[in-house]
């Protein structure tokens, strides 16, 4: 087994999982975990859900401080990687103790994403919701009832909207695309959630990008005004691939990796939100923003590094979730591409087929169907429409 140092850049859920999995797999060389944020690594998904309600940061911790001591993982918070020096096999970092260089035998890039900041005049009036610091600010500012405009009708914007409506705020959601969650779910599911959010009291604006924000609200491209005294920006994210690109690694939609999650330099891997990898089902390059991809990638990379055996290709089935109000949206599999055909199996189950067969199944408050489909997709079993109908009837 190699004992060369492993350096992990990015201390989100994926980066931390890589450290955990390396030690679980018996890797006993040095492991360093570098993160830009202060404090211990934490879970992001609850920031737009449970944390907004309970405000309990301790519930977000992924591991206690003692983990880093007992597992001998060197954790460097509030530390930025300035440069990857591939020729020397080291990363140059800047942190509270100044600048230093860390040597690596294997480097894992788990740099994640950052919020897209579209060209919108006055965007400094809008709040972000990506980090714990953002979420704290948001909670503080929402102590009294407000008129809220959310720019972006994706998972995070809608999860936030559902919580805010429940807390008695007025909420308008502004989505530049013609439907909600357009990149993630079928049009059938978009429509179902649009009806739900309207029922909960939200105003929805479609097909109209926001062009300006000021103290009184948001102006849309059509000239229409959405009055608001609080604006949340939730218009999606972009991968943090600059560090990789500057080091001469192949990038495009994120950091490009092969089916072993290796970049164009075999000593450097990438995982999670920042990694563009071949879809195990179709071979197409995809980039997923999910806990599942981050942690499954991390386990796969750690197993390869710890064993030195690179014969196993990455093959995990994607899954996603979003809590909105009292609805649990779950997606098993991943559908992309214009050739996707969607079929409503029941009021709460939508199947998405493409030229390769069943791509994904979306369910609402139907964990049984979701888990069954995950198992079928993992086993590579073909599932056709009659079988899905039978399954949905339960």
């Amino acid at each position: 087994m190699s004992r060369e140092p492993v350096v992990i850049v990015g201390a989100g859920q994926g980066g931390l999982q890589a450290a955990i999995s390396l030690r679980q797999a018996g890797f006993d060389g040095p492991v360093s975990l570098i993160g830009t944020e202060p404090g211990l690594p934490y879970q992001r998904p609850p920031l737009s859900k449970a944390y907004l309600k309970d405000g309990d940061p301790e519930a977000l911790a992924l591991r206690p401080q003692s983990f880093f001591e007992t597992k001998d993982v060197s954790y460097l918070p509030e530390t930025t990687v300035l440069r990857i020096d591939r020729a020397a096999g080291r990363v140059e970092v800047s942190g509270p103790a100044g600048e230093t260089a860390l040597p690596y035998g294997q480097l894992i890039l788990a740099t994640g994403t950052r919020n897209v900041r579209p060209r919108i005049e006055g965007l400094e009036h809008a709040c972000d919701l990506r980090t714990l610091t953002d979420a704290r600010t948001l909670r503080d500012r929402l102590g009294a009832p407000r008129r809220i405009a959310v720019i972006g009708g994706g998972f995070i914007g809608l999860e936030f909207a559902a919580v805010a409506l429940k807390q008695g705020h007025e909420v308008a959601v502004i989505e530049a695309a013609p439907r909600l969650m357009a990149r993630a779910v079928s049009p059938i599911m978009s429509d179902a959630f649009a009806a739900l959010h309207r029922g909960w009291g939200a105003e929805l604006y479609f097909g109209q990008p926001a062009i300006a924000v000021d103290a009184g609200g948001v102006t849309l491209a059509s000239g229409e005004r959405v009055a608001a005294d609080f604006v949340l920006l939730a218009a999606g994210v972009q991968p943090n691939a600059e560090l990789a690109a500057e080091a001469g690694l192949e990038t495009g939609n994120g950091i490009t990796v092969d089916d072993r999650l290796r970049t164009s330099d075999p000593a450097i891997s990438a995982l999670g939100d920042c990694a563009c990898f071949p879809d195990p089902r179709t071979g197409r390059p995809i980039r997923l923003e999910s806990v599942q991809a981050a942690t499954d990638h991390a386990r796969s990379i750690a197993a390869r590094i710890a064993s030195g055996d690179d014969r196993a290709a990455y093959g995990a089935v994607p899954w996603f979730w979003s809590d909105q109000g009292d609805r649990k949206l779950q997606i098993a599999g991943y559908a992309a591409g214009p050739e996707t055909t969607d079929t409503a199996i029941s009021d709460t189950v939508v199947a998405r087929f493409d030229t390769h067969g069943l791509a994904a199944v979306e369910t609402v408050n139907s964990a049984r169907v979701h888990m069954k489909i995950r198992r079928c997709l993992a086993a590579g079993e073909e599932v056709d429409l009659p079988q899905l109908e039978e399954l949905a009837e339960g």
Binding site: Q43, P45, L62, P64, Q330
Partner: protein, 107 residues
């Protein structure tokens, strides 16, 4: 404080002090107990915090609800009548001394 004992698949026992109101899953994570993953953070969206409630405690812990049972169908290890998702067991004073057994794997 409420005491909880986690028994690993190999039989190793770890006893920790838990906050009242915390879940059995969160207590394991906060105390770095191996064998509980809790990937979704307690949103009941995965089945990686599977545990078996000790025979002596099944009545006090109570039965799992429907959705929890549905998620457990996707658990990696064998699911028995004593199987629960540990994120759904909240620690109350009545559960002081609780013993749960951990499965061979969670993923």
């Amino acid at each position: 404080m409420v005491k909880v004992t986690y028994v690993s698949h190999d039989g190793d026992k770890t006893t920790v002090d838990a906050e009242e109101g915390a879940s059995v899953m969160h207590t394991a994570i906060a105390n770095d107990v191996e064998g509980i993953v809790g990937e979704c953070g307690g949103a009941m969206m995965c089945a990686t915090c599977h545990c078996y409630v000790d025979d002596a405690w099944t009545a006090a812990v109570g039965v799992r609800h429907d959705e929890e049972g549905e998620m457990l169908e996707g658990a990696s290890a064998e699911v028995t009548e004593r199987s629960r998702l540990s994120c759904q067991i909240k620690l109350t004073p009545e559960l002081d001394g609780l013993v749960v057994h951990l499965p061979e794997d969670q993923i």
